[in-house]
Assembly symmetry: C2
Homo-oligomer: 266 residues x 2
């Protein structure tokens, strides 16, 4: 049975641009009547642009999907920012979780950061900050989500990457994070079989991150590989990968915790 038919509260991190924006649009189009989208990101002005775009969709108006935006920095080291996040959103927007059937958490926020060779990763504070955003913050937010939505059925998605399963030169930190996150969500899947858990690798999508890949990766072969994909117009759009992702949730046949790539059969 589709995971999109239930009246849901759907949380998307990094929702101010790129794939996060694409996800917000797709969920607004596909999710059940009277659902709520909670869009999180660091930049409120960017979130406002996405919110306006989403609310203007005819499907969104028709299904009466509510779109809430909230500033959230996953790299914060302040536990209050995490612990009070959902309760403050619920209070400010007069939402009662018990009125919903399902909670969906999409861990999309992430950074690429230092695309350097392993031998050049001696910047301890930058490396620490990278793991704070991409691992510590994400794991903490996930725990808070599971607690706040404990009484609903739940779907948890990790926006994964080819980098989770393939070592890529000069992406030491990124691959480490993506591999670790895949493992983390495999564990969530076996710890609680009632939660539907998915590691989705969106493929090479035309985003701001993809610009960094093409210009800053310390390995020039990697730069050239992605420049070529770009030149030959083989990079995906956010819409393409997000549509495919919604089909996977619609079909709902994946094994919980599995890694599915855009290019995989599913």
């Amino acid at each position: 049975m589709s995971l999109l038919n239930k009246k849901s509260v759907c949380v998307i991190t990094g929702a101010s641009r790129g794939i996060g924006e694409g996800l917000a649009i797709q969920f607004a189009k596909c999710i059940a009547q009277d659902s709520v989208l909670i869009l999180l990101a660091r930049s409120v002005p960017d979130l406002e642009v996405v919110q306006t775009k989403v609310l203007a969709l005819p499907e969104c108006k028709k299904s009466n999907v509510k779109v809430i935006i909230k500033r959230f920095d996953q790299g914060s080291t302040n536990k209050e920012d995490f612990e009070s996040l959902f309760s403050s959103i619920f209070k400010e927007n007069n939402i009662f979780v018990s009125e919903f059937q399902q909670g969906i958490m999409i861990h999309n926020a992430g950074t690429l950061d230092e695309t350097k060779f392993c031998k050049n990763l001696h910047y301890i504070s930058k490396t620490g900050q990278f793991f704070q955003i991409n691992l510590t913050g994400m794991i903490t937010l996930n725990a808070i989500f599971l607690q706040e939505f404990s009484k609903l059925s739940k779907v948890v998605v990790n926006m994964s990457s080819l980098a989770a399963v393939m070592p890529i030169k000069s992406w030491g930190l990124y691959c480490t994070v993506k591999s670790g996150r895949d493992m983390f969500f495999k564990i969530l899947a076996i710890e609680d079989p009632s939660i539907r858990v998915l590691n989705y690798a969106p493929g090479p999508v035309k985003t701001d991150m993809m610009n960094i890949v093409q210009t800053q990766s310390e390995d020039t072969e990697i730069q050239e590989t992605y420049q070529k994909l770009n030149k030959e117009e083989k990079l995906l759009t956010a819409e393409m990968t997000c549509s495919k992702f919604m089909e996977i949730l619609e079909l709902n046949k994946f094994e919980s915790g599995v890694h599915i790539d855009y290019y995989d059969e599913y």
Copy 2:
């Protein structure tokens, strides 16, 4: 050709106990004449005990292996602690790297920490500290090692775990780290084929960490599994796994970057 025949500087982190101590003993027995062991850990008194034990070995006396101990906290956030580590050791001990043929870095230091279910990992500062020690500090130390030993041939070993390849309930953080580290060293291997890189999973070894596993893992089945191994005397000793590890270095037939478990054929 064996990796143990060259006159080496061999650095072992977490060398004050458990597998780290076992490695110090084995290297002192097997490494080439006039090599130097640098043993790092947080506790100097514990390091002194290991140093005394190692220096008392007849093989160590015979091969004139020097054993240096140095306090080092891999969880430090102070970049100076990392950047000055090797240069201060070299200076204090009148060592000139150019007089050696090989540098060996054994990333053995590590913590198990919060053995909780994913839903209970909401302690942001504890989680952050865990990644600081096990990822950030290790990656930074590794970069400093590669730079300081740039002119020698190099061997880099990650003390891995079954947890790097198998999701284990209530070990969310540990598995995330171990999986990420394996990936990191696979990348090092492809970035620099001149470095011999190994991810070695030592099997279930009777250490302080194994006591935590048996008493604190939030999943009681996991506790019981390891209690049973302990009761049936199926846990390995540090000596057993370290001997096997030395055989792998001696044989030196592994593909660089590969994950080898104690129980694997190699």
